[in-house]
Symmetry: D3
Subunit: 230 residues, 6 copies
Amino acid sequence: MFKHDKQLLHEVRVDASNPNYAAMLQEQLGGPQGELKAALQYLSQSFRIKDPAIKDLFLDIASEELSHMEMVATTVNMLNGHKLDAHNATVGNIEAHVLSGLTPMLTNASGQLWTAAYVNETGDLAADILSNIAAEQRAKVVYEYLHRQINDKGVRETIDFLLNREEAHNTMFREAFNKIQDTGSLKDWGVTKDSKLYFNLSTPGGQYFNADNPQPASFSNPNPQNPSQH
Amino acid sequence: MFKHDKQLLHEVRVDASNPNYAAMLQEQLGGPQGELKAALQYLSQSFRIKDPAIKDLFLDIASEELSHMEMVATTVNMLNGHKLDAHNATVGNIEAHVLSGLTPMLTNASGQLWTAAYVNETGDLAADILSNIAAEQRAKVVYEYLHRQINDKGVRETIDFLLNREEAHNTMFREAFNKIQDTGSLKDWGVTKDSKLYFNLSTPGGQYFNADNPQPASFSNPNPQNPSQH
Amino acid sequence: MFKHDKQLLHEVRVDASNPNYAAMLQEQLGGPQGELKAALQYLSQSFRIKDPAIKDLFLDIASEELSHMEMVATTVNMLNGHKLDAHNATVGNIEAHVLSGLTPMLTNASGQLWTAAYVNETGDLAADILSNIAAEQRAKVVYEYLHRQINDKGVRETIDFLLNREEAHNTMFREAFNKIQDTGSLKDWGVTKDSKLYFNLSTPGGQYFNADNPQPASFSNPNPQNPSQH
Amino acid sequence: MFKHDKQLLHEVRVDASNPNYAAMLQEQLGGPQGELKAALQYLSQSFRIKDPAIKDLFLDIASEELSHMEMVATTVNMLNGHKLDAHNATVGNIEAHVLSGLTPMLTNASGQLWTAAYVNETGDLAADILSNIAAEQRAKVVYEYLHRQINDKGVRETIDFLLNREEAHNTMFREAFNKIQDTGSLKDWGVTKDSKLYFNLSTPGGQYFNADNPQPASFSNPNPQNPSQH
Amino acid sequence: MFKHDKQLLHEVRVDASNPNYAAMLQEQLGGPQGELKAALQYLSQSFRIKDPAIKDLFLDIASEELSHMEMVATTVNMLNGHKLDAHNATVGNIEAHVLSGLTPMLTNASGQLWTAAYVNETGDLAADILSNIAAEQRAKVVYEYLHRQINDKGVRETIDFLLNREEAHNTMFREAFNKIQDTGSLKDWGVTKDSKLYFNLSTPGGQYFNADNPQPASFSNPNPQNPSQH
Amino acid sequence: MFKHDKQLLHEVRVDASNPNYAAMLQEQLGGPQGELKAALQYLSQSFRIKDPAIKDLFLDIASEELSHMEMVATTVNMLNGHKLDAHNATVGNIEAHVLSGLTPMLTNASGQLWTAAYVNETGDLAADILSNIAAEQRAKVVYEYLHRQINDKGVRETIDFLLNREEAHNTMFREAFNKIQDTGSLKDWGVTKDSKLYFNLSTPGGQYFNADNPQPASFSNPNPQNPSQH
């Protein structure tokens, strides 16, 4: 069951309306590395997870990403201001001015509608957690790009918060990954000679990496100790 | 420049036509974890990479994934057999029987058309390599699912080869990841308190993981030695 | 902020696994009249609403629809059972068997990926509430179709609950609609002669309806009294 | 059978070419609240309707919406002018300048391709008519947004005509809705206690609306008398 | 302006309901080679055509394709019969049974929603007419595939009619193409050496075709004489 | 098997970075008439072709189109320059600045993600080759539009090369088409009276074309002689 609290997870503010930046920030509301994608990916994956600790982690983070989505949308809404004027919104999509009456939308910065094609779920914990670690890293990157292109202090504080939260999630997902070693798709790794070959198909160019000693993934930097259960 | 060799990367065969399994195997031709997605993701990412060793790796693997796609498509084509008969193709999409004249298509097993929404690229090497490691793990999982549902020996050999190649790519991408430590989005990790917090938003449930000591990702099992450049 | 409670809004159960019906029930998880669409439509619309009572209504129902989505997904998960076997899943999409490892997905019954094209938001309360009333009526209809095609008592109870909740939402949205008479797009209705014309473009056929006396919509059956605010 | 008359339903003109506004007006050609969507929704729904009066109404309006689409497209074509110059088309999508040679396209203002995901049809008259009433209200809203952002008198006259026609359709659909009381999904409304509950899931916030006395929808303002059949 | 005549362009009938074939025939209602695509492609292209004879041809055929769409939809509706029963609809998409209440839909046989990505328009008559000739040939092929998989005499007669009409359109478009020689993109053909080269990139394999003597396309079999204008 | 050569098929250069033109040129990377579409269409079609000469032709051109895609992407990458600045990228989609870190993407100029809906394949050689001839003509047209809107000499040289190559492919596909006369869907043309009718559905307007003497397509200008096999 989901419950909503009208208080935001973290307050947001903008120094001034900025319709062009509103369109840009839409990227993290309705784009492939955005908050809706993260929330729905983790939630979808959680439906079949049996390990209670990992299921709890996925649902904690899914709920937080939904809450991030609300923060991003609230910020976009403020940035959209109060005047329909597509002629002065020359960066990115203009749906706020012709379709949604300045309401934030489930699209990316250029108007592509959100699609579940962004969501990866496999029913295999190793694959899903790796997907999530990658998703968090990509989300961080997009926030960095957005941070560089805005001076508004209120917006920068919000982006800074969200970016750091993606790092936290990334860290936690890696911990969870290391906990599931030798399970699921991490088993039976590198059992045939084919798993050790390198096909050098792009030339000129050497073989700078190899797969001689194939082993499933594990991360070198899990947090040293886990908290006791609350 | 791309060149094509009519010899397959690895020969394929099927013991018998099997229109239902043809539809199922379409998943790895035109689905989100399939070969076309992998090929185009790595190729797209490569366009801006400057490090020559990593660029070479991405292009080697992109070329191989294109070659895998050709193997999968050739197998689907054999499995489709020679008779249009949607009434006997009751598993998955029926486009082979009504639209493509039994030619393999760029759709998944259920008929969803391939979309570039499956492709992740960020211009950041750390994020892109993590995306690729996750993609390889997911591709392995889907091949495992497909392997379990077919007895045809020819098909199983092909799937076995492809599955092991995904492991090899996974291993190589991890090596590349460890080589780029302290660059791009791996820098400046965990600098604010927000990156260390845990929001316990799903209850009941404790806090089984934490982010107390945030550090960027690195893998614990790179291959110990690199080959000399050829 | 969204919080998750691991207790479902309403408990669900199935008498037996049923992979074919699992695919059918996917329609209300990831289809155009499904729970995800409803949740995201009302949430998206709420971002710019100023009237606190209506904003609260939208967020109450959005949260409930998210909780419905969780109920539907949990049911689909149970129906999917424990065996990958696309050859025995001949009704609807087979992604559970080849892609998601039996995890519920954000697709409709036939495998079309969920898209934000299903979500209508205009920034105008009258248009948005009418959209929601229509969405609830359509959701009811789809649940009726699904109810007729299953004998499993557990599933029928869940569908019955959800169907009745859509009726409740429908009723509440109509109340809200009647409260906003003479606002937004309900103003200035029927001011030109063009709003009163009938173009009889399909023949043979008469003019069985007219627009002689155009007035904005209002519903005849609001609840007679409102509860006091809690 | 459809027949085409080269005379427009209502003549259109523009005072001057305006590539930016051409992109904006694309919203009502190929967007979710646009004329193509309306035409195809009503036409699709009509295929299974048995009531001859309602079927005639749907086909009359579907034909008119197709004719509206032609008016919008003709206007977009005029606004596109005669010069390919994406560098001076900085508002919205630029496909007219790089892809279609200034021909109107089946996209929205920001370039999203039209999709049948916009079309709702359920085979239930009550649900379909409510969908259409909502669609007409949304179309009116979008025309209001577009009207505010253009001074061209020719364009404003066309938008004014189209906006008033959406009101007329809205009125007529409401009449049709009231005629089908006690049929289809309007039957058996509110039979369980679940249909009367309110879940207060967003807090703080009271319960400003209720469902204590659930009844199916009916509109309070149908036209008092129907014309005789022609 | 479009007008609708309730008489079909050509009467349709089915010998018996056939839900599986209904799903298959959906391919020509909402698939890439179907009637909706043809109608909207020719209509969209027509908006900017100046040559009155060619514009008339495009609109004649667009109107006919809309009328074909109505024939196909009417046939699908008959084939869907009167019983919601997805469990007995094991070929192709099941949306008729879970979503549309047996109403024909704007999807292909496997449930992919119709998309304007199927529509090609360039503003160049030569490119557009070649697109249309190809579209008609593909439509013929799909009708052939569908014809082979049904014994119902009523359905076969309808398919036979539609297939022959695609041939007629193909013939007429070729006539129109030959009339526009030396215009638009047919001018300035083969002016650089690059237009005469052959890159032999797939090996082993020779060069079985060449481009030594590049000339724009023209068809060898136009109708010998044109009718006088009516 | 595909092999990659790091040398481009034809060198590219740009005189200066130009983020707006980078977005425009995206049209031929990820748009409906672009290089990715061409490559994947011909490759997909080739999977079931038996005629070795035609199969070789399709694979030669598919490989070349992949190589063109690489040229276009390399040019887009150069045009994107080195500065994330969506506020100065006011023409077309802004994903390079918010999502991809200036890496070329699989989208069109306005941000629509590439979709396999652009790819036509039928399993019938006549239909497929006509599709390809049309695709090459459209690609030429789009390059002409792009050529007119750029002064950069480097870019113009690249576009000129690519445009002329599309002409060469067009010529070669026509040769192949004429070679397959009397096969596949070219057989049994015009056998019923329906294939000779003209429906004059758009009025006013005469009948400027006819189908009195229906014959399958053939081109009047094939190259007079074929080269010997290499």
